[in-house]
């Protein structure tokens, strides 16, 4: 069996371009340095694409800030990709797999930079829209009952941590990565907290006979 076939035996569906990337990035490949340079250029282009998409939302950041973010994102993504190269199974094109790392790095960095120095609201102002309890003439009785039950369940049935995390992210629009950094945890751990809180709320509503969806499966 040829060496390249053996090396990629666990990736039977590799397209030719992805196979070339893997062969060139192989530690024994004479063209590895050039391939790493080419990959970095690709990642930088993707990071700049992401920065352009998001910069309108952050008018207070300067052009230099964005280009620094793009370079940092490409550098960090390259390190992650080279470390995880063995994890690529060929379920997608290699470039799509690589792009997700740099887009993730860029997105997290932009969110954190945008929230730098800002206080994270633990009791978001918009929560008053619901807690005010002033129903409008357009709300029917069922909606009013649902809102009241939801307010009660958030207050009575969630732990303080669940309440703070859910309200900050779902009501206060605090990016989950920003909150994770402030609390010294991860996006995944915080989302699990949110998921458990939502399940508890749906259970509370269901126990009162309110239609708000039933929780049957949860996270996989």
């Amino acid at each position: 069996m040829p060496a390249s076939t053996t090396r990629h035996a666990g990736r039977p569906s590799l397209d030719p371009e992805s196979r070339r990337w893997l062969e060139r990035l192989d530690p024994h490949s004479p063209g590895r340095d050039a391939a790493i340079q080419a990959l970095h250029a690709l990642l930088l282009d993707a990071a700049r694409f992401e920065v352009r998409r998001r910069r309108a939302a952050f008018p207070h950041l300067r052009g230099d800030d964005f280009d620094d973010l793009a370079h940092q994102s490409a550098d960090d993504a390259l390190v992650a990709i080279l470390r995880k190269l063995g994890d690529f199974r060929g379920d997608s094109r290699f470039t799509t797999w690589a792009y997700k790392f740099v887009l993730y790095e860029a997105a997290v960095k932009i969110r954190r930079r945008a929230w730098q120095g800002r206080e994270v609201p633990l009791e978001p102002e918009r929560w008053s829209v619901m807690t005010a309890g002033a129903a409008t003439p357009h709300e029917d009785a069922e909606t009013r009952e649902l809102l009241a039950a939801l307010r009660d369940a958030i207050r009575d049935d969630l732990s303080a941590h669940q309440r703070e995390v859910l309200l900050a992210v779902a009501v206060g629009d605090v990016p989950i990565d920003v909150l994770a950094e402030r609390l010294g945890t991860t996006r995944g751990a915080l989302y699990k907290t949110i998921h458990d809180a939502r399940r508890k709320l749906r259970g509370s509503l269901a126990a009162r006979g309110l239609r708000a969806g039933t929780d049957t499966e949860g996270q996989r």
Binding site: R53, Y99, K100, L103, D177, G188, H195, G213, Q219
Partner: protein, 83 residues
């Protein structure tokens, strides 16, 4: 006619209660994201091949943004096929 306050309430309720049914975790979402996006760009049944992804994207705005960015970047290079 509904007021902006009503619309806001409806949106908040949806964000507070999240998606129902099974959903991926954030880590599972990241692991499957490239495959899911390539299937979408190819016009394949991405949701059938990666169950739980769509529900997670409805519930996690950060992962949804990551998905939308990757889809936009890949689709720019490879125009989407199918519906």
């Amino acid at each position: 006619m509904t007021s902006s306050g009503d619309t806001e309430r409806v949106r908040l309720v949806a964000r507070l209660l999240g998606p129902t049914g099974p959903e991926l975790t954030c880590a599972e979402c990241f692991a499957q994201l490239d495959r899911y996006v390539d299937l979408e760009v190819a016009g394949a049944a991405a949701d059938r091949h990666v169950p739980g992804m769509r529900a997670h994207l409805e519930g996690c705005s950060a992962c949804l943004e990551d998905h939308d960015s990757l889809l936009a970047l890949v689709a720019r290079q490879r125009p989407r096929h199918g519906p």
